[in-house]
Symmetry: C2
Subunit: 350 residues, 2 copies
DNA sequence: GTTGGCACTCGGTAGAATTGACTGCTAACA
DNA sequence: TGTTAGCAGTCAATTCTACCGAGTGCCAAC
């Protein structure tokens, strides 16, 4: 993909000449592998460019000046910066999953059964086992799906349960607690009217609620408003986080671990993070790129899941900036593709 | 309470003479506070018994011989064993929550709204914030509640959704995927029959399913079996874990943190752990007492939640064996009492 | 532009010495 | 008999030192 010519880069700072690129990549690879600063001689030995460590050194000072590398202290090797990782990832040729792992994914999707939620949850476990990073699976929002059925159920005279079923198979429930006591007959009638009113609509549709002052109309009004109230918040998004214990293995420093875990606890935050990255059109967000200070030590990989060509959730991986991008990207892509297929045609052979 | 007489203790090993008890308690308190082994002079200074360190020492060798204390190495102080903590906890006088925290709990329960799940989830966050330990809130199983409504909804000709509403306000859904294509009319009719069949029953009830060979009967049979299949597994239990990030603060050693987190990921395991402890009639399980090897560094506090006098879930706290038992026990009890009240009478003033 | 050589920097480590917080023991004492 | 002071012994933790070595920057030569 990337050119190997030596002529001066057309775009000023975004591209490096071939040798610098090779050196940078060697540093990244080595550092991902060893977690140690990488010295000039290690690079000279590993990369296939036939130059001496001294030459590598002078290239490295340039790379450092341009912001791709950094030095922990004077007498240490170099470590990639976020920008360095970014270059590396942008010039990464697509990796493929190991045969055993591919097999594992195939078997998983061949055997998986059950409700959407269960599939997503198990997928997040799968993804985290494949990569040994923490995984995030975001399910489709049901904002654009239509309502198939609504029902108001009497729990006690002042407490009713509104249960709505959507065309994507999701179910939501809400309490409806009017200020008056409703009879069984009234609740049943309200339920009937809600069905007539809402079936086929989406949560975004405006519907004509009855304005009468009787109990039934009041029940209908409250039900509709409680149901539509769900829309503005991100609530109702389904998030499944798998392998949060990996955080303890993969990051060092108690404080970092604690911080990352405490972010993962706030699922809404995680959803919006993944959404942000997708909206930026990225598949990897490194360090500060996602503008999320507490996760500045992390890289996040995302891959969208689509149903009928429309976005319907995503899978993600969260690791340290020195994560194994090749493998992790491959895993995320393979799993998201399988998920897409799984939800696209109910029948999945693959 | 305990005698000061010098005659041999009536119950052989379960009780200690007053001075030993005081010394043991001083060691536990100190060690919980400092996380360090406690020496004889520290005990002599802190406890109000007017004896010299030498005397304390000779008592300590006895306590060690009897298994209440242990010595990390020869020239170190003493550390409580699980048995030592057990004695401490058994002789703990009930603590009360700090005023600020009591206020926080009151405000929380005064303001909390929404579905049961939401309340439980927020409660788990509350509990973990109160104590800075990881909290577990187990919701009621709906095994004993009755079915209020069942509905079969057509997603597509071969894929239907069974939605059941229970008297405790919980909703479950299951896919029903017959091998034949069912018409809309057939699904509606099956839904009607299911209602007639199941309303008022529990998941444990035996019901008479139709044995005819038509589509409707097949739908009914499959729906009933799929619904009842839920029973044997613990699945459907609701668990909410709050403050898992505390694990990183409270335990030391990456490996311990990882192990605990990975247990917490398996929610079924957590439920059965809490259930076990409750079944043993304990409110605290220390170290190996719960017989759960990976959590041998942990203590677990549980407090049952009841509705109408029947067990309906529990709240729990998970911390290191050297946790602040007084405060944690108080918090768990206060919160479980509030929860009980919250679910008991819908109206909670307190 | 590339290279070998060289002086310099500085974190990490290994070993020795020291400290100090403990203990267990013993002999004297009330 | 229980309690105490005194004392020798143990051992983890700390501090210090020296030193090693990986790695750099610079420079002169090619």
């Amino acid at each position: 993909m990337a050119r190997r010519t030596t002529k001066a880069p057309p775009s000023p700072s975004n591209d490096l000449d071939a040798r610098k690129a090779t050196i940078l990549q060697a540093v990244v690879v080595e550092h991902i592998d060893t977690a140690q600063p990488v010295g000039s001689s290690a690079v000279a030995a590993s990369a296939d460019l036939q130059v001496s460590p001294a030459t590598v050194r002078s290239e490295m000072v340039a790379l450092e000046r341009e912001g791709y590398l950094a030095q922990p202290h004077t007498s240490a090797g170099r470590v990639p910066t976020d920008k360095g990782y970014r270059f590396f990832v942008d010039h990464l040729k697509a990796g493929v999953l190991g045969a055993a792992q591919q097999q594992q994914v195939r078997e998983f999707f061949a055997g998986v059964r059950g409700e959407v939620e269960d599939v997503l949850e198990q997928t997040s476990t799968l993804l985290s086992e494949l990569t040994s990073y923490t995984s995030v699976v975001v399910g489709p929002s049901h904002a654009h799906t239509t309502i198939l059925s609504v029902q108001l159920v009497n729990l006690d005279p002042r407490h009713h349960l509104l249960v709505a079923v959507f065309s994507d198979g999701s179910v939501v429930k809400h309490s409806v607690t009017p200020t008056f006591e409703a009879t069984h007959v009234e609740v049943t009638e309200a339920s009937r009217q809600l069905n007539a009113l809402l079936i086929g609509t989406t949560l975004e549709s405006r519907v004509q609620v009855p304005s009468r002052h009787d109990h039934v109309a009041a029940l209908v009004r409250e039900s509709v408003s409680v149901l539509h109230a769900e829309q503005p918040t991100l609530d109702g998004e389904q998030v499944f986080i798998g392998g949060s214990s990996k955080v303890a293995q993969v990051f060092d420093g108690v404080e970092t671990v604690r911080r990352v875990l405490s972010i993962l606890e706030q699922e809404l935050l995680v959803v919006s993070l993944v959404q942000d990255i997708l909206d930026q059109g990225l598949s990897v967000a490194i360090g500060s790129e996602h503008g999320f200070e507490p996760l500045s030590a992390c890289a996040v990989i995302v891959a969208p899941v689509t149903v009928d060509g429309l976005p319907a959730g995503a899978v993600g991986l969260l690791g340290p900036t020195r994560m194994k991008y090749r493998e992790a990207l491959a895993a995320a892509e393979v799993v998201s593709a399988h998920l897409t297929r799984h939800f696209g045609g109910e029948d999945d052979r693959g």
